[in-house]
Symmetry: C2
Subunit: 320 residues, 2 copies
């Protein structure tokens, strides 16, 4: 491809973004604003997130995967709140080196996940930047405000649950970096996949409406995210270490190197739903594990089988 | 100030952003999402925009002014659609050199304009970037969808109107750059102020509900923005050059150098409302000027008093 620089802004929007604006309120990006209303009785659920090239993803990551992860990370926040995803706005600042072929792949990734989650591009802004490409998504869902689980709603006596398995994404990043050896190809691929492309628990989040009282998605790590609930709810979270759900691949990795333990409880990117509910309320929902309980007090403790707190080294990813 | 680096993310949010989240649906940023609903019968009006340090503003611009301009540019889009502003999400990627004192001033500017426009911070994301500071606002308003003026709704026979005066911001930028001399201090200050801090026509936009049929805010320049209406509506816009509303200061600048004419019609940043309406419909609304009419055809023409098209050199600001 001799010429792979970006076309002018209007061509770029017409070629790559307008076809993604399938919601009638987006007017195919033919206007300055999008008009959307939640379904009767529901409210809009809003979340914004930025990823920066070289910080949150790498220039040689497949562009379609970058697009899909960007959407999914935001949809995960909506999922934890039981919201039905509706669409998103995309503000993109493109680096001077940006190639049209990258953008074409990026748009293809957006289109693929728009189909997967039934969402539409609703609006956007494209600018040039002398710095790294910076991509901001504002995701919009809808939910029944009265039943949205909040960080601040955990109560002593609640059980603590988490969906899926923990630590896979952190271990997967080690696989990708070549730091984790001795795993079967299948296990290594599973872990790397969990890092590369999270699966926001959109359907589960909606199944938990009326069950989950407080909830958050695991993006900073179990201890840090449970810490957010503990802090906002002014309660103490006690987790049984041996109850934590681990994938076969994570068990294999831990068997090789028990020093990887912090990856399970203190690293993020799993994008599972962590929630609390009155005792036994969540029984019968597949794919979730009870991992502990909420008590009076403050802080988060991981307890060994003898009930003794296990020390956890780090407290999740901090941006500064 | 010996130590002026940014505090950690959570401190930063608690100290500067949480106090701005006054809307109950923002839960003082104590949760992952914001919950908001438009008033009964209305829809949400959404718009997103990014500014990059060194591209859209300069590192030594007063931080409070950067904040207010960022909000106002977005509120201007809502204003053109007759929307009542509600709030905004802010995604901020801070450069490594970012100082806390800058951020404190930035937050003060946000607070000031939140009061001016009756809006709230609704949510946000803060990240670090190795590049220039990059700030994205997603603004949210509410409006009656059936009466929102669209780019695509201009019809032959409509009159074309614009609020306020044109070209001041472009001339103001020249004043700031030292390119425009010979003006009185008062005129120079007026023009510079129009560039530094636009005044989105929020009240006028709401007064025009039911009158403006198609509308856009002037951010790319009269010719380019009228071009958007012309293109989306598949009509021709004919503007009388001598009808264009000019401030006293702009007249003075043009008298000194008639070569500045393109600043009036082809430069952006005025943030006035440009709209079309059936003949005479807008009479009686103060502060707006009829500048031309919509006819069958395509394109935009600026006509001299003899009805002859005037050539216009540029077509507004393009980002690539």
């Amino acid at each position: 491809m001799a010429e792979d620089r970006l076309p002018d802004e209007f061509t770029l929007i017409r070629r790559y973004f307008a076809p993604l604006a399938t919601h009638p309120g987006a007017a195919a990006l033919g206007d300055d604003v999008a008009l959307i209303a939640p379904a009767p009785g529901l409210v809009h659920v809003l979340k914004t997130d930025t990823i920066v090239e070289g910080v949150h993803y790498f220039a040689d990551d497949p562009a379609a995967l970058v697009a899909r992860k960007l959407l999914r990370v935001n949809l995960s926040d909506l999922a934890a709140k039981g919201a039905r995803p509706v669409g998103y706005l995309l503000a993109a600042s493109f680096a001077r080196e940006m190639r049209e072929s990258w953008l074409a792949e990026f748009a293809r990734g957006l289109a693929e996940d728009q189909r997967t989650y039934g969402i539409s591009l609703l609006g956007g802004d494209t600018t040039a930047t002398p710095g790294p490409t910076t991509l901001t998504v504002t995701a919009i869902g809808e939910a029944d405000a009265a039943r949205v689980p909040r960080r601040s709603a955990a109560k002593p006596g609640h059980d603590i649950y988490v969906s899926g398995t923990l630590g896979d994404a952190a271990l997967g990043l080690r696989v990708i970096k070549g730091e984790l050896r001795g795993l079967s190809n299948e296990d290594a691929d599973f872990l790397a996949g969990r890092y590369r492309l999270p699966e926001p628990r959109v359907a589960l989040g909606q199944a938990l409406i009326g069950i989950a009282v407080s909830a958050i998605d695991v993006s900073d790590g179990l201890v840090a995210d449970l810490g957010h609930i503990s802090e906002e709810s002014r309660v103490r979270a006690e987790v049984q270490r041996d109850a934590l759900p681990l994938s076969r691949a994570a068990r294999a990795a831990l068997a090789t190197d028990p020093g990887l333990w912090p990856d399970i409880v203190a690293a993020g990117d799993d994008y599972e739903i962590l929630f609390t509910a009155p005792s036994a309320a969540a029984e019968g929902i597949a794919g979730i594990t009870r991992i502990g309980r909420i008590v009076a007090g403050q802080g988060v403790a991981i307890l060994d089988p003898a009930g003794k707190p296990v020390e956890v080294k780090t407290a999740g990813y901090r941006h500064f």
